[in-house]
């Protein structure tokens, strides 16, 4: 039995209400670190992207990266936050080997952005999840606990990541189940990708999620005691970890126990969360204003300049696609999953003059081919213009949809346009009446029985005859013209 299956009966479960808040750390994709000029690249040899500042050498002073500020402002705007004209940095003090300064330079009571929201769409319902704040801070280094010969004695520390810019996005406790959490994370990731502040690759640790979970009896006003589930490394695992943790807490309370405020980790192997058994007393980070950095001032003028660089965001884009192209909301969702996909679709739609068919091709044959070869849409050998041209040929009646489906794989493998392939392979659709005449006559001569049936009133047999003509023309006959020609000759 999977551990996420019901531990408590459904009727008991239904008397409880889970309360979830998420803290998401997003690495900002600037060239250099937040407080020093070291590169932020992933995968460099250990302890090579370091300098006195990020190594925490005494006397080294931080200098804030201007691009980090601009990225943070963009993130704040995308999250519908108010961006503060003045925010300040604060020291968060704690000891850990991958934190060489002995403190993190974060923000405390005056974060760069606050009071925002993310709208989600779950089970056909729209819901607004509050964003409490988004603040800037530096990432810690990496501790490697396992995998070395002497790993039972030592932890290996790599400080390349130390000082990588992070924005921590804290939600209000508005989330009520794991599906909403999943939708919130998906939307958040999409927003950050659209505005280009992060690739949000979870495998590279560019997006990390902690979840605060508690349960309370339905109708109760007071929140229950929460547990924090930390460092879950995929959205699917977040969902599974939440499902497990909610069940665990309800089962605990039902059996007369009490939820303890603690940090828990999720094990993908067992599907369970487990206590970190921290021996430390309640954390006391002794926040105080960072003396080495001046308050961050963002004037309305600078804010306006940054705002003017904001692209159209997914929610607005989806609404526009439905309105402008007459496609379904679900299709609009799919076509706006990434900025690249939405740009590809719009280009193809424009060239084709038939947005709905273009949408079907992007989500169908193109998406299938991309998936089969593990390619991104930006790597597609068939460009948006070329796909648009193919769809335009269908629209103009120069080729059938069936023929287009044969041409597409050839475009994919050669990168050539549809017209070039048709010329090369003699695949032009036959719309010339005299050429079709001969084929139709031949088919009628070969199928006297069907002709008799038709004349006897069984007119549905015409489908069979059309098929025969298509076959005889190697799929190149214009089906509509064939239909008309047959009728003319038989009636």
């Amino acid at each position: 039995m999977s551990s996420t299956e019901l531990m408590v009966p459904a009727e008991v479960f239904a008397t409880y209400e889970p309360v979830i808040g998420l803290e998401v750390h997003v690495q900002l994709g600037t060239n250099t670190k937040i407080y020093c000029g070291c590169p932020t690249g992933f995968g460099a040899p250990p302890n090579t992207n370091v300098c006195p500042v990020c190594l925490g050498m005494p006397g080294a002073l931080p200098v804030l990266n201007r691009s980090v500020v601009e990225y943070a402002v963009k993130a704040g705007l995308a999250l519908n936050c108010t961006v503060r004209n003045e925010s300040i940095f604060a020291r968060k003090n704690y000891f850990y080997p991958d934190l060489p300064k002995g403190y993190q330079i974060s923000q405390y009571d005056r974060p760069v952005a606050e009071h925002g929201f993310i709208d989600i769409f779950v089970n056909e319902t729209h819901k607004r999840i509050g964003v409490t704040r988004a603040h800037l801070e530096d990432d810690a280094g990496k501790s490697i606990h396992d995998g070395y010969r002497d790993s039972d004695l030592y932890t290996y520390v790599d400080l390349n990541r130390t000082g990588t810019p992070l924005i921590e996005i804290v939600s209000e406790p508005d989330i009520r189940n794991s599906d909403e959490a999943y939708a919130y994370l998906t939307e958040l990731k999409q927003l950050m990708q659209f505005i280009g502040v992060s690739e949000c690759d979870m495998e590279k640790g560019q997006l990390r999620c902690d979840a605060n979970v508690s349960v309370r009896k339905r109708g109760a006003e007071k929140f229950g005691t929460k547990a924090e589930v930390k460092n879950v490394n995929s959205f699917r695992f977040v969902k599974l970890a939440l499902d497990y943790e909610i069940q665990r807490q309800i089962a605990l309370i039902e059996s007369g126990g009490k939820v303890v405020q603690e940090t828990r980790l999720y094990s993908p192997d067992t599907g369970e969360t487990y206590s970190m058994r921290s021996k430390e007393a309640a954390h006391d980070y002794r926040y105080f204003p960072e003396p080495d950095l001046l308050p961050l001032r963002i004037s309305d003028k600078w804010l306006g300049e940054i705002r003017s660089t904001m692209p159209e965001l997914p929610p607005a884009k989806r609404a526009r696609f439905v309105e402008q192209y007459g496609i379904r909301e679900y299709d609009a969702q799919v076509l706006t999953l990434t900025r690249e996909m939405s740009e590809y679709f719009e280009k193809a739609a424009e060239v084709s003059g038939d947005a709905r068919t273009a949408a079907n091709w992007v989500m169908g044959d193109l998406a299938g081919a991309l998936k089969a070869e593990g390619k991104e849409i930006t790597e597609s050998p068939v460009t948006a213009e070329k796909l648009g041209e193919l769809v335009a040929l269908i629209k103009k009646g120069e080729i059938s949809g069936k023929l287009a489906k044969e041409i597409f794989p050839k475009m994919w493998s050669t990168g050539d346009g549809a017209a070039a392939i048709m010329d090369r392979e003699g695949l032009r659709q036959i719309s010339d009446t005299s050429a079709l005449d001969a084929i139709v006559d031949e088919v009628l001569a070969k199928n006297p029985a069907q002709v008799e049936q038709y004349k006897g009133g069984k007119t549905t047999v015409i489908g069979f005859l059309v098929g025969q003509v298509m076959k005889a023309s190697r799929g190149q006959a214009n089906p509509q013209m064939v239909n008309e020609l047959l009728k003319k000759k038989l009636d």
């Binding site: 060239n31 090579t48 370091v50 003090n93 004695l153 932890t155």
Partner: protein
Amino acid sequence: MKITEEQVRYVADLANLRLTPDEVSRMARDMESILGHIDKLNELDTTGVPAMAQVLFDAEETATLRADAEKATLPNETALQNAPQPGGGFFKVPKVIER
């Protein structure tokens, strides 16, 4: 402001410091006199003066920011020069229990 020995031990613990009983009582006295001095400042009426974290200066808002441009990094050997126990390019530290 009265500083108790318990408060001294708490702060020492947070700072990973081990103090002898003598040091604890001496620290309590020292901290009390330092805070007493700070208390003196509280006698000033600061009503209407905004809280100030740093001394601000009059300049362009971006004057203290730097461009997002790479600077030279330290070679690995230099970075690890002060490490009590380097190995394989890493800092090696006694096993961390909390993960």
